[in-house]
Amino acid sequence: MTTELTAYIEGIGILGPGLTDWPSTREVLTGGQPYLSSKTVMPTPELLPAAERRRASDIVKLTLVTSLEAITVAGLEAASLPSVFSFSNSDGLNCCTICEMLASGDRQISPTRFHNSVHNAAAGYWSIATGAMASSSVLCAFDASFGAGLLDALTQVVVDDSRCILMASDTPYPEPMFSKRPIPDNFGIALVLAPQASLQTKAQIKVSITHDDACKFNDTSLETLRMAIPAARGLPLLQAIAQQKNRRVVLDYLDNTRLAIEVSQC
């Protein structure tokens, strides 16, 4: 028997190379506009207090920008939302700098560098910025991180009968680590998931585990993006939502274990 998890998507946020927000991304994913890749423009996270804003690394900015877009569209307050953060690595630049310093004659890394190095740094900043005291999951599953985050968020929705926000983001490492892990740019997706349909519902999703092949994009630039950044493995789901028709998509997850998603419009 296949277990199927049902949730309703109430809000979507996105930021990545050539993708500035959900309305413009929707145009790209439905073929209304061509996809033109260009370096991700990172906005200033206004929500953070000045001191934290100064110290915020790209992964913090990514999660804040995408989550605020999703929460605003859903018409919700972040303060009471349980959250799931799924990153294939913590902030890449910060990690690389720490490793360089530890290999040098002076190993005195700064306190800010250290607390920014934890995988849950963005979750910490996010809760400070939004005042959210609900539980948060902070996950990593390498290239499977989007799927791992989506499944965890779905279990919160289904088992705990609660709304939940998923934030899947990735940041690049500079060299020399870039050669070991070539993530080309900042990219993030945020989804607000709910257990029941509401006026804000954008789509219903029914998710199960499958061994079917993952959906690919016909557009080579979008397909390159999907394969290059783990969080972008979620883009076929966003395309199905953008197309506003009932469709089954399969997302990459672990090895040959993938996620089948029946997307239907509400």
Binding site: S137, C140, A144, L254
Partner: protein, 407 residues
């Protein structure tokens, strides 16, 4: 929540390999923290190092995963018949019906720290031998565990600093209740590395002595390393055998976020209090039902003060409590799982482990802090795990017989 059975569990830390050595060390109040002599680290602090980690040999098929963190994971998995129990469960449920959720904070970062010393002098490139995804990446230890057992169900590393391997129980619970899996391998593995030793130094949070939780003169943590695992299954509907009724159940989980500061806890312990209250609520228990609290008890001035405020707000001043970090050190992302196993041992053996190294309990904390071991039957115990970024998780464990008084 629906109770979950810890059908097998194990822990390996500086106080011992496996359950028997761990229990013996707790009973003997064995001191295993030692002045730091790790790698090239030149810091005036104490560490809890697991002996023999570098002697662990990876099978050829797993060679790409070879790093200190996965060597310790392997050492841990091979204690107490844990691997056999997982394989039996895999035969019973199917390898695609067992999830893997492992907590870690730094995974195999040591491998990359060392690789940065070997950069090509001309190009700056890292050595070809560094296999990022199998070692440094945060998922590495969960991937290693999954591959070790040949499992194909859902998996993730949980990495929320020092609450990581408490929160794995929560991830597994949701997956099991959702019906995606029938069992889960949960655990925590973290190993000594330069990032944490120098990082905690930068925050002024490393003790210069063996850490002294809840002491008036506590001055910081002693970093340790550990691998601890549990196999979670649904409990038998009709517990009958002796083994069944002495089994340990996970009964309650509470999680919260401080939303206060990146590296300091909420001064009133508000997030901690919420996590403890939620754990009690999810277990359907009252504060007076809890016989022992295994504190997060890191021995930093601010953690112990904030945690004590949270504990006393929920429990008052009488519930016996202690921190076992004086024995194991603070094993960071592995601490939640190590202390879950210590709670399970405490329940099965009727032992409240007294805290080590604490000479004079800080009276301002107003806790019933246990300095000596106490032998008494325990029905329900709580374990607290809190971390950087204000992440909190409390777990409640109990004996199956306490749940089934008529059996």
């Amino acid at each position: 929540m629906k109770p979950l059975l810890l059908s097998r569990f194990t822990a390996t830390s500086c106080i011992g390999r496996g359950l028997q050595e761990t229990l013996d060390a707790l009973r003997r109040r064995q001191q295993a923290l030692k002045p730091c002599n790790f790698e090239t680290v030149d810091l005036p602090t104490f560490i809890g190092e697991v002996a023999g980690v570098d002697d662990v040999k990876m099978a050829a098929s797993m060679a790409d995963y070879n790093c200190r963190n996965n060597r310790l994971a392997l050492l841990g998995l091979e204690q107490d018949g844990f691997a056999d129990a997982v394989n039996i469960a895999a035969d019973k449920y199917g390898r695609d019906r067992i999830g893997v959720f492992i907590g870690t904070s730094t995974s195999g970062i040591l491998e990359t720290e060392l690789a940065f010393r070997e950069r090509d002098p001309v190009t700056g490139a890292l050595p070809a031998g560094l296999i990022y995804n199998k070692t440094q990446n945060t998922y590495s230890v969960a991937d290693f565990t999954r591959q070790y057992f040949g499992l194909s169900g859902p998996a993730a590393a949980v990495s929320s600093a020092c609450s990581s391997s408490a929160k794995v129980f929560s991830a597994a619970r949701r997956m099991m209740e959702a019906g995606l899996i029938d069992a889960a391998v949960v655990g925590g593995v973290d190993t000594l590395c330069l990032t944490t030793l120098y990082g905690f130094t930068s925050l002024g949070l490393l003790s210069t002595q063996a850490c002294r939780p809840c002491d008036t003169e506590r001055d910081g943590i002693s970093i340790g390393e550990a691998a601890a695992f549990a196999l979670l299954e649904r409990p038998s509907p009709n517990p009958s055998s002796n083994e069944d009724i002495h089994a340990v159940l996970l009964l309650g989980i509470g999680e919260s976020s401080d939303a206060y500061h990146m590296s300091s806890p909420h001064p009133e312990g508000l997030g901690a209090r919420m996590a403890m209250q939620q754990a009690l609520q999810s277990a359907g228990l009252n504060p007076t039902d809890i016989d022992y609290i295994n504190l997060h008890g890191t021995a930093t001035p601010s953690n112990d003060a904030a945690e004590a405020k949270g504990v006393t707000a929920v429990f008052g001043h009488d519930t016996p409590c202690s921190s076992t970090k004086g024995a194991t050190g603070h094993t960071l992302g592995a601490a939640g799982a190590v202390e879950a196993v210590i709670c399970a041992l405490a329940l099965q053996n009727g032992l409240i482990p007294g805290g080590l190294n604490t000479r004079k309990t800080d009276s301002l904390l107003k806790l019933n802090y246990q300095l000596q071991n106490r032998n008494q039957p325990l029905a329900y115990v709580m374990s607290n795990s809190f971390g950087f970024g204000g992440t909190n998780c409390s777990l409640i464990f109990g004996l199956a017989q306490s749940e089934e008084p008529n059996q």
